[in-house]
Structure formats: C-alpha cells, structure tokens
C-alpha cells in the first residue's frame, strides 16, 4: 500500500512545486514507484518544472470526469521509468474536482504505487481542501520570512483540524550568510514558532533556478547543495535517519585558506 504525501505551504512562491518535483525524482532514483499529482488546477506548473509539458494528453479533471482511464492520464517521466505525473487541467478551475473524488483517486493510486506526492495550490480554499483530502501525511514548505511562517502556522492548524497527524517542515531558501549576520531568522527560531518537526533544510541555491530552466530537478545534480538537501529529505521520507547537512559552505578556496591557516571569523 502506497503513501499519499501532500506538499503545502499556504503562501505562494515558497517552493512547493520545486519540492514536489525534487522529492518525486529523489524517490524514483531510490527505486520507488512514484506518482506526482499537480493539484493546482488552472495554474499548472509541475509539468514544466519536470520538463514534461509536451507530453500531456489527459489531465486530473479528465480522470475524475471519466473522460479517460487513470492509467492513460499518467505521464511517464523521460528519465525515470518508475515516475509518473498526473497533470492539472489548465482550462478549468478548482471547483472541477471535489475532495471525495480526490480521496477516490488517491485510494486507486495507492494500490500500485509506493508514493503519491500531491503538489497543493497556494491558499486555503477549495484547491487546498481537495489536495489534502486523500493525504496520509503532509510536508509544509516555508521560507524564513514573516509572511511565509505566518501562513505556514495557519496551514498547520488546518491540517491538524483535518486530522492529518504526520506534519513535517521543510525550511527552504536558507541563507547561512544572512543567518550568521542575524539578518535572517534561524532554523531554531522558525521551529520554536511553528512547533513542528523538521524534515529538511534547503539552502538557497542558484542550481534550483538553472535546473528549473531546463526542466531537470536539482535532486539528480550531485554538485548542487539544494540537490543534496532534497536527497537527504528523500531518505528521511523513506524512514532513514540522515543527519542534517552543514548549511555553512565548506568548499572553496577561502574555506581551504581559513582551515589551513586556522583563521577564525
């Protein structure tokens, strides 16, 4: 029996879709059978982040309306044969799907796949309610900014009210240099405020922009720090205990210089 994980945040633009794509690919690389569902009906984006935008024939709404079979709407990823995408409809709106239909869909997918990852739309309205309806656990994505953390707090409340017990935090776009200067909230600050367990810490990384440009999630990029963070999160989702990565940059000439001559800053 597969597990359904919803990726949510409340606020838009904090990295839900990026997180969904990277965790989907990460789990597929770890030989799990994965389906990614884009629940953002009317504003679909997971397809472009995954580089699968040219392959969509049927979408989520076609499936729930019975216009095609579920299998026909699952787009096979071009890199990983055990990864599938169920795209959102672009011409409909959130009311085209009901929470009951989402539960049914998740139950059907659970039969044949290890993980079903749902990319939730921003906001707390119908689209959010649909996305969480069939979920077993939730990953709340936030950035260390007041607006994002405030919305994350609201989302945690709503998830608890919906009786989703397993709620974990992914803190995205961390800037170690700013945290050091005390110009950004620390991980502990955010965890104190939200009072939920951390699943992952993702540093701000240009590789996310460049990999998204190409439609190739950074989790497969061994040189990307964010990619490493997502690989670690993937392991933790599968129940493996992986230590949190050092956020501070350790490579580079300056670091070597400091280390060699024992310069402290």
């Amino acid at each position: 029996m597969g597990e359904v994980i919803v990726i949510t945040s409340g606020k838009g633009g904090v990295g839900k879709t990026t997180t969904s794509a990277n965790l989907g690919c990460g789990l597929a690389i770890a030989n799990k059978n994965v389906v990614l569902i884009d629940a953002d009906i009317g504003l679909r984006n997971l397809d472009v982040v995954m580089g699968l935008e040219n392959r969509i024939v049927y979408d989520l709404v076609d499936v729930v309306e019975g216009k095609c079979r579920l299998k026909q709407a699952l787009i096979k990823d071009k890199r990983y044969p055990n990864l599938y995408l169920l795209a959102a409809a672009q011409t409909k709106d959130k009311t085209a799907v009901s929470p009951e239909q989402m539960v049914k869909l998740c139950d059907a997918l659970r039969e044949e796949h290890d993980y079903i990852i749902i990319d939730c739309p921003a906001g707390i309205e119908q689209g959010f309610k649909n996305a969480i309806a069939g979920a077993d656990r939730a990953i709340v994505v936030a950035t260390p900014e007041v607006s994002s953390v405030r919305d994350a707090d609201r989302i945690v409340g709503l998830l608890e009210a919906a009786e989703i017990k397993n709620i974990r935090l992914v803190l995205n776009r961390l800037r170690p240099d700013m945290i050091k200067r005390k110009e950004m909230m620390t991980v502990d600050d955010v965890v104190d405020i939200l009072a939920i367990e951390v699943l992952g810490l993702v540093p701000d990384d240009e590789a996310i922009v460049t990999s998204t440009n190409r439609g190739e999630p950074a989790v497969a990029d061994n040189n990307s720090r964010a990619g490493l963070a997502f690989r670690n999160i993937t392991q933790r989702i599968m129940g493996n205990d992986v230590p949190f990565m050092e956020l501070e940059e350790t490579g580079g000439f300056m670091a070597w210089l400091k280390k060699t001559f024992r310069i402290k800053n």
Binding site: V146, D153, K182, E183, M184, T186
Partner: protein, 83 residues
C-alpha cells in the same frame, strides 16, 4: 535620531522578525475560527436568556488581546425575567 545614534546598535532584523511573528501569531491563533466565536456567542446567549431578555441587535462579544487574550462582552439587558 541623535548624533550618536550610530553607537546604539540596531536590533538585527532576524530578531525583529521573530518577535513580530510571535506577536502576530498569538492573534492569528485566537482568530482562526470565526465560527467558534459565533458558537460561543450563541451559547452565552442561550444561558443568559434563562435569566434576562437581551437586546440581540446591540450585542457585542469579541476577543481583546491588549494584555493577554480576554473575552470582552457588552450585552444590553432589556428586562429581568420574573422568577
């Protein structure tokens, strides 16, 4: 700004952010459910109406959070009920 203002180190913005968030979330967490406040209102009315006639149009029940959360109610009484 005083002339020596630059000597007073400004609070770092990360700390300011945390403090502001803690305050705003106290309010948010209380106000998360307007429905609950409505239910609370109707329950209070139910109990009170056993004893008094209440002017429901001028009724005001709110949560005030100046010095910690407090339930503030203004309930105009039309008449006491006869026992």
């Amino acid at each position: 700004m005083s002339f020596f203002g630059f000597l007073n180190k400004k609070t770092p913005s990360g700390t300011v952010a945390k403090n502001r968030l803690e305050l705003v979330l106290i309010q948010d967490r209380m106000n998360t459910s307007p429905e609950m406040l409505e239910m609370l209102k109707s329950d209070i009315l139910k109990v009170l109406s056993n004893y008094v006639d209440i002017d429901e149009d001028d009724l005001a029940i709110d949560i005030n959070s100046n010095e910690g959360p407090a339930l503030v109610a203004n309930i105009p009484i039309k008449a006491w009920k006869k026992r």
